[in-house]
Every structure is written in structure tokens, then in C-alpha cells.
Amino acid sequence: MPLSAYLIMSALLFTIGVIGVLIRRNPLIIFMSIELMLNAVNLSFVALSHFLDSADGQMFVFLVLTVAAAEVVVGLALIVSIYRRRHNIDVDEMNIMRG
């Protein structure tokens, strides 16, 4: 398969992730979408690594996986603590910063 196929696939996944972040109101779904975006990037890293005969891209993937795991931990902790306080995790309800 040509490189462009991987990159188009990666762009499609990324766009789906972005749309998910923008339109969904449940933070868990938003997290999944973010994971989708991260993995879209991972896909392009791996594809490029293969086509360029370089291990650098794969190293980056490990880095991204680590950060993604940490991010999910923090994010879930936030969601839990918000839920304990408000019994509701709808992001549209959380608008106390409105100017």
C-alpha cells in the first residue's frame, strides 16, 4: 500500500476525533475522541517511520502512548471529582467561567 493511504486514514481518524471533541457533551466520549486523535497521529508516525527506514517515528509513538496514559489518568480523576461535587458531568453544564 502506498504511503498516502496511511496518511489519508490518519487524517480521517484525526478529523473524526476533532468532531467528537467538538460536538459530544459527555466527557468520557470526549476523552475517547482525544485518544482517537492521538492514535491518528501515531499511525502517521509509524507509517512514515516504515517508509523512511528510520526508528525515530516509532520512538515518538511510545512517547505519545505514555503521555496519553498520563493524560487519561488526570482527566478521569478530574471527572470523578467533578461528579462527586455536582452529580453531573455534562460539559455544557460546566460554564462558570462565562464572561
Binding site: 476533532v18 471533541v21 467538538l22 460536538i23 460539559v91 455544557d92 460546566m94 460554564n95 462558570i96 467561567m97 462565562r98 464572561g99
Partner: protein
Amino acid sequence: MTNLSLWVLLLPLLGFIILGLAGRFMPRTAILAVGWGACGLAFLCAAISFFSMLATPAAQRTSDQVVYHWISAGTFSLDFGLLLDPLSMTMLLVVTGVGLLIHIYSAGYMADDPSFWRFFAYLNFFIFAMVMLVIANNFLFLLVGWGLVGLASYLLIGFWYQRRSAVAAAQKAFVINVIGDFGLMLAIFLIFQGAGRLDYAGVLTHTFPAATATAIALLLFVACAAKSAQLPLYMWLPDAMEGPTPVSALIHAATMVTAGVYLVARAYPLFEQSPAALAVVAGIGGATALFAATIALFQLDIKRVLAYSTISQLGYMFMAEGVHNYSAGIFHLVTHAFFKALLFLGAGAVIHALAGEQDMRKMGGLWGRLRVTGLTFLIASLAISGIIPFAGFWSKDEILGSVLAYGNQTGNVWYYILWAIGILTAGMTAFYMFRLFFGIFAGDYRGASVAVNDNTNGDVEEQEAAAAGHHHAGPVRYNSIHDVAPVMSIPLIILAILSVIGGFIGSMALFGLPNWSPLANFLPAAMHNHAAEGSLTLEWISTGLSLLAGVLGIGMAWRLYGKGFAFKQNSNPLYQLVFHKYYVDEILNAVLIIPVLALSRTLSRYLEGDVLDGGSRGISTLFRGTSTFMRRVQTGYMRNYALGILLGVVVIIVYYAVRG
């Protein structure tokens, strides 16, 4: 030589800190222990240093002690140092000694005041500031002391801040003093420019170009004129009488106002470089002496008579310094500190006994009731009138004698005129002092019986001052007047003794005894006098005439007021002119204050109100409008922020994609 001058400086500061921080919670005895203790120990230290200095040979009496290096920048360095020489020693003794007596007296005078602790805190602060002024070894710390005594004066004039007139007087004093501080600062800038350093040791041996020397000396004299109430900056001193009487005695008679005399004596090598500046000093001194004496002739408020008398006597001191006789100026400063402090404290005792009354028209006949006060007041009056052998005689005659000798030496007719003014002023001094003495003590008591028609004299100011008096409670019945308590009368007696013998510390050259006492050449030796040496005949002519003028003045006062003072309205325009103090305050009001106030009001209404305030209001309206619009962006919805981030990323990517 034992030099305890650092303690003389620090002890009053310590007293001020203790009283200032904790005085509010301390009992009166503790306040007195701290206040008296700080000043008394300072005096003790000064006295020990003095006796140790006397035991030292004259050539080694100067001690320039560096306490710490303050600034060291390139070639410029400045130390905080203490210069103890016969001149500063004399000033230290006067400041702490008279200061101690007035601390003691104040315990009685201020006994009923609710702000007892504040008064003693300020007094200690003043002693500290004055010692700093006197003992500094460079012009910068002189300026520090100069400013601090101005502050102390301001605080103490406005001590009874509930009185509008006291607050106004304090502000007036402060504003006029700042003019002087400004002059001193300019002089210091010029000195630094010319000499590159500020310590006395370096500056006073430096030779400046003639024009610079004149400018420096004249600017220094501006400072002296403001601090020592000389023409044309004297107006604040009579108003300063709004302060408590011990303050008038200490600050506005004995010590602070003599700072100008001290400065001329301290910086005399600079003045020696400029004959023109010295002529100005002598001329202003003489003019002030005469001018203030004429005003004092007809004043009715007893403290104001003394205030104008102080201005006049300060004029004498400058007159002496103007004819190169610096030690005579300081000598008169010392004797004047004794008898003028005594006069003020005596006046304070009278005011205290009459429950706040200061108007001479409501006194009289107090000799029978206030015997100690009367006697000491009489001694002081004789001393200031220059009657032999009281203190004022010796110092005043040394001044007049040296003015005449200088005129004779230079052949300049102006110095003869100056001398004649001095003699005339001596006569006037004797007259107004005995008018005051007879007014208070002779004749019958006028306080309770005589209704004084307040509306005819136009002297509303004094009436208001008296009516707003701190503890003024109507006329006191004659039989209920009591002489003051020992705590007040002992300082009076000590000062009276000093007013009698104080003159003997001078040189008795008049009687051919120039070295009769160990103190005779204490000051002159240190000052390298350039005074003219007159012949003994000239000295005796001057002495005889001034004594005659004094006796004539007393005689006239006796003829007019010996049977008691009676205020008579007089429509003579010259009398009215002098009675209203030459309308100086009114003229100043019309020429300076009213236009300035009008200008300020206009500016505050249009410039500040419309332009500045309007401008800032416009700016704030602009921001408020903008933010009302802009804050809609902050929706609080996370998705909007996410969209914003996405759009931002897209814009950046598109930018780089298009640019290639």
C-alpha cells in the same frame, strides 16, 4: 579628650522611640522618666565632653569622628561623622541644657494635657534632630538635621491640632522653612560641584571662584533667613506662638531658630570668601532687628511681643556675623537662649496662672501674686535690655562694639548706620520689654473687671486665638491666682541665675581682662576671628550709648506704663501701620495667597476636573465598552474553546502551507 557626642545624639532618639511606640500606655511618671532621662543623660554626656574638652589644649579640641562610611562611589565618599569642636560643643550644651530645663518645666505646664506622652515624644525628637544638625560633620547630614528640626517644629506648633489656627500656623512655618531647605539644597549642589565633596573639613578649606562663593554663601543665607526668621522670611515665627509655650521657649526662641546663626558660624570660611554675602548678612540682620523691634512695640499678645523680640535679637546675631565677629554672634546666641527661654517660660507661667489668657490688656498687678515669676521675668527683662551686669549686656555690647569698630576700620558709612540701628533697637528692646513687664506685673489686675472692647482694635486674630485657647476658661479672679509649682519655678530660677552670670563667660576685653576666665577664649580661638579690633575708646562709646539707650527705654516704659498698662486707641497712621505689623500678612494674602488660591481653584475645576478627570473617565468608559463586547467570547462552553484552538491550528497550518 572624652567624646560622648554619639550618646548625646542617640539618647534622645531612644527616648523618642520608646515614647513614640509605648508612651500611650505608660503612666505619667514613666513618661517623665524616659523623657527627662533621655534629655538629662544627653546633657550629662555633653557636659562630660565639655569638661574634658576644657582640659585639652586649645589646638587639639577638634574631634572628627567617623561613625560609619555611608557612600563610597568612585572618588566621592561620604561618612556619617560627628564633628565636635568648641562651636558644636557650645551648641550641644545650649540645646541639651536649655532643653532639659524645658523638659522639666513642661511636666508642670502640660500636666493637664491628654496628649502628655506625645508632647514629650516630640520634645525628645526635637532634641535628637537639633543635635544631629549641630554635630554633623558634613553638609548632607546638616541638611538631614535641618529638615528634621523643621518637622519637629511643625509637629509642635500644630500640637493642639484641634485648633484651626494652630494647624494653619504649623503649615505656614513648614512652607516657609521649605523655602530655606531649598536654598540649602541648592547651596549643597553648588558646593559639591565646586569642591567635589561635602564634609566640612574638605569644603571649608576649599577656595571657590568668587562668583560661586557668593552664590553659595547667599543660598546658605536664604536657608538661615528662613530658619532664623529674618527678613523677608520671618512671618512664620510670630504665628508659631500657637504652639504650647514650652515649645515656643525651646524651639522658637532658644535653639531651633538659632540654627541659622550656627550655620553662618560653621560655614564662615565660605562667607569670608564673599564680602558681598557678608554685607548682605549684616544688612539683613540690622534691618530685621529694627523692623521686628518696631512691631514688638505695640503688640498686645505677650507671646507675640516675645516672638518679635526673638526675631529682633536674631537680627543682632547676624549683624555680628556680618562684621566677621562670628564668636560674638554665638555668644549672643548663648545668652539669648538663657534669657529668652526664661522670658517665654515666665510668660508661660503667667498664661498658666491665668488659665490660658495671653492678652496683656487683661493682666496687670500680678507682682503681688506671682512673685517668683515676676522676679525672674524682671531679671530676664534687664538681661535682654542690656543692663550691666546681666548676660545680655556683655553679648550685645560685643556685637555693637565690633560693628562700630568695623565701620571705623573700613570707613564705610553704612556700618556706622548699622551701628546706629543697633543702638536704636537696643533702646526699643528695653522699652517694649518693660512695657510688657509693667503690663503684666504693675498696676491693678484688669482681668476680671475691665471689659475690653474687642471690636475697636481690629486685632481679631489674637482674640480668636485667645478664645479658642486650649484651656481658656474665662477670667480668673485675682485672689485665686497662684504662683507656679516648683517643677515650673525651678527651671525659671536656674535660667534666671544663668541670665545674671551668663555674660561673664565672655572675654572682658572692655575692662582689659581678655583672658580672665578659662571660657573667655573658648569660642574665639576656634573661630579664627577676622573681627575688627577697635580701640578701647570706641568700645566704651558704643557701650555707653547702648546702656544709655537701654536706660532711656526703661525710663520711657516706666513713665508710660509704670502705673499699669492701659490700651489706648490711636488713629495716627504710622501707629496703625506698626500696630498692624506693617500689614505684611494682609499684603501677602492679597499679593500671593489669594491669587494662588484662585488659580488653584480654577485649575482644579477645569484642568483637573474637566481635562484630567474627564480624560481618565473617557478612557475608563472606552475600556468598559470594549470589555462589554469582548466578554461575550468567554462563553464558558468547553467546545467553543476547543473550536477556537482548532481554528487557530488550522490558521497556522494554512499559513505555512501557503507560504511553502
